[in-house]
């Protein structure tokens, strides 16, 4: 039975009893990293996101000081001006997070994934971890490049103040951008796992990030303020504020609020993943 058999000139090894080693979470992580690394579209998306965020921020910074019609922003909140392009970056990270999961559903790859790793929560954890590390590291590099580019633009216009990393809360805001970006990617990721369709997940991501906060603007102030205060993406963005805003949580309470929202979404995603047919 263990004699090698030749099938059309190729040897088939016979192993009537399974001999394989039991895979661990580390193996699932390795596999998910390979999946992330071997898609050119992912790399292109990440590269384009970095360029757009840094470029757009630089452009807005320049416009806000070079134009004679500049507002007061550049005086009151120069870091906010420097980081102005990140809203688009957050959306891009949400989309990337969603695609990590929905790609597998739309291509049918998910079946192969769950065949290899029937523990679906382990798959979710490994995917989420790889995504977090990739987005976290990239946005960490991005946020420093963004800061120094913006700083350079502002230095060219002596009439305007330039934030320094040593200033109150500036380093926190610069570093915080990497954390907020990672949490945003995880929102898209969890929404992708819940909705399983790329278009649906992207729509939901846009809704969470942009549309619902806009709708909030239409509410009467007495309702709007508390909702806006706790709306996760609004609350999370307080980490990037150098001075505390009115009707907003503090930086860390806000980040905690966002993190809690992400955690809830991930739990829902995990439960559904286990309950539903693949």
């Amino acid at each position: 039975m263990s004699a090698p058999t030749r099938v059309l000139g190729t040897e088939v090894r016979a192993a009537p009893r399974p001999t394989g080693e039991v895979p661990t979470l580390a193996d699932t992580l390795r596999s998910e990293w390979t999946k992330m690394r071997t898609l050119r579209s992912t790399k292109v998306t990440l590269g384009v996101t970095a360029l757009i965020v840094i470029g757009l921020s630089a452009l807005i910074t320049w416009a806000s000081v070079a134009s004679p019609h500049h507002g007061t922003q550049a005086f009151t909140n120069p870091l906010g001006v420097i980081q102005a392009g990140w809203g688009l970056g957050w959306l891009a990270f949400e989309v990337l997070g969603a695609l990590v999961v929905t790609n597998e559903y739309s291509s049918g790859m998910i079946a192969a994934t769950f065949l290899a790793t029937p523990r679906r929560v382990r798959v979710l954890a490994a995917k989420g971890a790889v995504l977090s590390v990739v987005v976290g590291l990239l946005s960490l590099v991005m946020t420093f490049v963004n800061f120094y580019v913006g700083h350079a633009v502002l230095s060219a216009y002596p009439a305007f103040p330039e934030p320094a990393l040593g200033d109150n809360n500036v380093l926190r805001a610069v570093l915080g951008m990497a954390l907020t970006s990672t949490l945003m990617a995880l929102i898209g990721f969890a929404l992708g796992a819940v909705l399983r369709h790329t278009a649906g997940a992207i729509t939901a991501s846009v809704a969470v990030l942009f549309v619902l906060p806009l709708i909030l603007q239409a509410l009467p102030t007495s309702w709007r303020n508390p909702v806006e205060e706790y709306w996760p993406t609004q609350a999370g963005s307080q980490l990037e504020q150098v001075t505390r805003q009115a009707h907003a949580l503090t930086a860390w309470w806000g980040t905690g609020d966002l993190a809690l929202f992400v955690a809830l979404l991930l739990v829902v995603a995990g439960v559904l993943l286990v309950r539903r047919d693949a």
Partner: protein, 370 residues
């Protein structure tokens, strides 16, 4: 060894698999047959835990798939041909799957060679033809060198050479003592590949037997008689309780009578006999007969096999049937019941073809009393 026990799966109001039980034995290729929508894919997906049953259980070598510690080394499955991201290179796809199962990359190159994709490993899987996609899927299934293999329509999209290759591979794997379950709606393909068949229709078990038994049990056995005096002989055959239908080339296809009886009647009627043979039902016919009640999608207005077979039938439920009987043998009328069947092998779509198809073509010749 796969054990399916009282498996039931519903999708909303639709019961895809209905209280299904069967075993799949190691050491042979088991065909898993049924018309479109019979529930084959759903059953296979339930075996590997992709679909969660509403009732019943499935075990592989005694264990639920979710509880197998190293599942890729225990079960290999080809479920969908294109279960990969089109933008990823074929080899990278396999590497990712191998890593998840703690399988070294060496094995990836081995299976790529085994399925004949050694030179295509660097190509994006999205550029693959359907046949290459099937091969990549088979490579993935073989990664863990598993003793149990599930293949959902593996020959779909393969060229004749590829079909022979899959057939040979499956038989070789079974010969090594592995359990091989392969679904198809091409009876003719199964006839060449499988030793045992499990037939389902509308989610229920219809037959679970060896191919030989299936053919033997089929009521489709007939006697073929060629005589220049066919017209004169028919009334005698009908009178003796037979059912007669025109065969191709003017022969008479008689059912309900044994060959010796037909010969005796011809002798008494003084009709010269030029040919007299017993035709056993082909597997295709046996399959049609089994599943005609259960075929989910059938073309409207197409006469079922029994009606078509009536010919100048004694039952004579409607004389019109005779005129409407197709020129071919019985199954011709059923061809339309397979709207979704791939044209590839010509198997179900062709008009009848037991002799042309050749298998298990009828022990032709005189069947003398044993």
């Amino acid at each position: 060894m796969i054990q399916v026990r009282n498996l039931t799966k519903r999708f909303g109001a639709k019961t895809a698999v209905n209280n299904l039980s069967f075993d799949v034995q190691p050491g042979l290729v088991t065909g898993f047959l049924g018309p479109n929508g019979a529930g084959k894919t759903t059953t296979l997906r339930a075996i590997v835990g992709l679909v969660r049953p509403d009732a019943g259980a499935v075990t592989v070598n005694g264990t639920n798939y979710h509880d197998i510690l190293a599942p890729t080394h225990e079960v290999g499955a080809l479920l969908e041909a294109k279960a990969y991201h089109p933008g990823r290179r074929a080899r990278d796809h396999l590497v990712a799957l191998a890593q998840a199962s703690r399988i070294p990359n060496r094995r990836v190159d081995e299976v790529l060679g085994l399925v004949g994709l050694a030179d295509a490993g660097k190509r994006k899987a999205g550029t693959f033809s359907l046949g290459m996609a099937q091969r990549l899927g088979i490579a993935a299934a073989l990664l863990g060198d598993p003793p149990v293999l599930l293949l959902d329509e593996p020959v779909n999209g393969l060229d004749p050479e590829g079909i022979v290759w899959v057939r040979t591979l499956m038989q070789a794997l079974a010969a090594e003592g592995r359990t091989v379950l392969v679904s198809s709606h091409l009876m003719s393909e199964m006839a060449l590949t499988a030793t045992h068949v499990v037939v389902i229709g509308r989610g229920k078990l219809i037959a679970d037997s060896s191919i030989e038994e299936l053919v033997r049990a089929s009521s489709g056995s007939r006697v073929r008689l060629r005589t220049p005096l066919a017209g004169a002989l028919v009334p005698h055959l009908l009178a003796a309780g037979g059912t007669v239908q025109p065969g191709d080339d003017g022969a008479l296809m008689v059912s309900g009578l044994e060959p010796d009886a037909v010969g005796d009647i011809a002798f008494k009627a003084q009709a010269p006999v030029h040919e007299l043979a017993r035709l056993e039902a082909s597997l295709e016919e046996a399959f049609m007969e089994l599943t005609q009640e259960d075929s989910e999608f059938r073309a409207q207005g197409v006469t079922g096999a029994p009606a078509a077979r009536q010919g100048w039938g004694a039952a004579a439920r409607g004389g019109a049937d005779g005129a409407g009987a197709p020129a071919g043998t019985g199954t011709g009328g059923q061809a339309g019941a397979w709207p979704g069947a791939p044209a590839g092998d010509g198997a179900p779509a062709g008009t009848s073809a037991p002799p042309a198809q050749g298998w298990p073509a009828a022990r032709q010749g005189w069947s003398g009393p044993a």
